[in-house]
């Protein structure tokens, strides 16, 4: 008798391209052809964009990409783990100041160590912010919901005061300091060279960072850790009874979230090139909350959509005066574009919560399902 021949299961059955023949196929990140094609197309398009559009647009898109990293961070702690945090602006500030202190010129008025390697100051920005996140996390084990939101709000006010007063680091209120100095593999990213302009180089840096941070976050979300976050969000007592250590996972959530925020802060102010201490206020935190709610709670792609939406919104509202002459461009007159913007954040948050709680991601899912079933309505 011969030993039974173990037949390898075919990787794909002919005529059934969508059928999974192993758990590994199903667990893949891009587990359907349409997903694979659209994501590759978007990433490819994003990488050739620097040669297609104006530098001004590139720098706006770069800010949106850096903000996406911050929004992913907030979504990890608030969307996935359910711990409402209004303190995101504080962590963004920590990252921005760490990065610019590490990379700043030593002979400047403000603290600087002159280490301009992007990889070094980006990691430093993330780690220092993560340390503060870990220090804040124990509050989350004691408080929940609105109480936690209020305490994290306190962080923003503490931060605002410290950043305004600590002139050696921040330059002080109304003065500010230059943002991080980016040098990667010997290439100065914030000055135009023969091949690429500074905007093109910075855009590519932001894109590469977003791809890496987005992929890492997506991996975390589908892992044991992501499931534990969701369990804590949905029912914390049940989570504990099935063996999830609440304290540990809340600490992980805050650490990862503030790491992302720190890196995002560092990257955003690399593009703007200047840090004004009063910009890390409650409005900034609210903008990030808006990104998460408008984009889609507990989704990575939603965070990115939300960040783009909120970052590109001002570019649209600035055009308003040409359409509606009663809106002024002057910040001192009664109804100006800045006020319209602030009102819009509020209206959009309320509108999305009521009409589309799953955010832009939910709208996308509905469009997708419609075309999946087309030409039938369901």
């Amino acid at each position: 008798m011969t030993a039974p021949v173990r037949q390898r299961r075919p990787r794909q059955l002919s005529g059934r391209p969508g059928l999974y023949t192993s758990y590994a196929q199903q667990l893949r990140l891009l587990n359907t052809r349409p997903k694979l094609l659209t994501v590759s197309a978007i990433v490819l398009l994003a990488f050739v964009l620097p040669w297609l559009v104006a530098d001004e647009t590139l720098s706006l898109l770069g800010v949106a990409m850096a903000a996406s990293i911050g929004a992913i961070g907030l979504n990890i702690v608030t969307g996935y783990a359910g711990q409402v945090s209004l303190g995101h602006a504080f962590f963004l500030a920590i990252g921005a100041y760490t990065a610019s202190a590490v990379s700043g010129a030593p002979d400047d008025d403000t603290i600087g160590f002159g280490v301009t390697n992007v990889l070094v100051w980006l990691l430093a920005a993330g780690l220092v912010a993560a340390v503060f996140g870990v220090l804040v996390a124990p509050l989350a084990t004691r408080l929940r919901g609105l109480y936690l939101a209020i305490v994290t709000l306190g962080l923003v006010f503490l931060g605002e005061h410290i950043f305004a007063e600590w002139q050696a680091l921040t330059g002080g209120a109304g003065v500010g300091r230059p943002g991080p100095v980016p040098v990667l593999f010997g290439v100065e990213l914030n000055s135009s060279g023969d091949v690429l302009t500074s905007d093109q180089k910075l855009y590519l840096l932001m894109l590469a960072s977003l791809v890496v941070f987005g992929l890492l976050a997506r991996n975390l979300a589908r892992s044991k850790v992501g499931r534990a976050f969701a369990a804590i969000r949905d029912r914390d007592i049940a989570a504990e009874v099935i063996g999830v250590n609440l304290t540990r996972y809340k600490v992980i959530a805050f650490a990862v979230s503030s790491f992302y925020a720190g890196c995002a802060g560092a990257l955003v102010y690399t593009i703007t090139g200047f840090i004004e201490p009063s910009s890390f206020n409650l409005l900034l935190s609210v903008q990030y909350i808006a990104m998460v709610l408008i984009g889609g709670v507990a989704t990575i792609s939603g965070s990115i959509m939300g960040a783009f939406f909120i970052t590109l919104l001002p570019a649209l509202t600035r055009q308003l005066p040409t359409v509606a002459p009663f809106i002024s461009e002057d910040a001192s007159s009664p109804l100006n574009v800045f006020q319209v913007e602030t009102v819009l954040y509020g209206l959009l948050i309320i509108g999305f919560l009521i009409f589309e709680p799953r955010g832009l991601y939910g709208i996308w899912i509905r469009i997708r399902n419609y075309w999946k079933a087309w030409p039938f309505s369901y």
Binding site: S223, K224, G243
Partner: protein, 256 residues
């Protein structure tokens, strides 16, 4: 007989003036199906909450599998192999059936956050192994058709089954079932009874069951403890407890 898996000795739990559990003692054998019955508010669920570490009693001792677990945190007790279901379903409603079951394996999956970020390698291997283990439970509880559904959208009876599955995914050494058939129709009740018997006979897991369906309790349980107003009024075989005058008066009142 080997040493009991659980001994519960002289436990008293009170909230301000109310004594929810009053000097209750029992033990559960290695392959036993032990049932706790009693009128509403008798303290049955409080006993479960003491066992799983949600409540901390004022007096008494609880030994599980040779270790003292009184006052330990719920996640520590869970890691030692004590799993439970809840009277009012406590599933993670936004997650799929598979994710809920995978959460049951939380303590058996050993990779950390850093491997999770990288995914390839350790995390992916572990996810595949445990997915296969969870599929055995899907198979055992006949949940195939619901796998990918968010549990919040499933019918009540199926949710109860998923919750049982999540507890089984923990590979428990002792399983606590809090009213497994509450609110179920005849057919769902019979299904659940079959699963409970299968768990005892095929998986060899001892169980403590709180249940109001007397038919089910009398048919399935090896031993029964009756409680009333936090006090233990009778412990013994179904036949003994059924004829115990204290139990009859607790349920039906005194003779006029």
């Amino acid at each position: 007989m080997t040493a009991p898996i659980l001994t519960f000795t002289g436990v008293t739990l009170s909230f301000a003036g109310v004594t929810a559990v009053d000097d209750v003692s029992f033990d559960v054998g290695q392959r036993e199906l032990f049932a706790i019955i009693g009128p509403n508010g008798a303290g049955k669920t409080s006993i479960f909450n003491v066992l799983s570490g949600v409540y901390r009693p004022q007096r008494g001792a609880v030994t599980f599998n040779g270790a003292d677990i009184l006052g330990a945190k719920p996640d520590r007790i869970a890691a030692m192999g004590l799993a439970r279901t809840f009277q009012n379903i406590e599933l993670f409603a936004n997650l799929t059936v598979l994710d809920n079951l995978m959460l049951g394996r939380h303590n058996h999956i050993s990779y950390g956050a850093l491997s999770a970020f990288v995914w390839l390698g350790r995390a992916r291997r572990a996810e595949l192994t445990h997915r296969a283990a969870v599929e055995d439970i899907v198979d055992f509880l006949e949940l195939e058709q619901w796998r990918m559904h968010p549990v919040g959208l499933l019918p009540y009876g199926v949710q109860k089954r998923v919750e049982l599955g999540r507890a089984l995914a923990m590979q428990p050494k002792l399983l606590l079932l809090d009213e497994p058939v509450a609110g179920m129709n005849q057919e769902e009740t019979e299904d659940m009874a079959r699963f409970i018997l299968d768990i005892r006979d095929e998986l060899d897991v001892p169980m403590i069951m709180v249940e109001h369906d007397m038919g089910l309790v009398m048919d399935l349980a090896d031993r029964i403890m009756a409680v009333d107003f936090g006090k233990q009024i009778a412990t013994g075989t179904p036949a003994d407890v059924q004829n115990d005058p204290a139990v009859i008066s607790a349920y039906l009142g005194e003779d006029a």
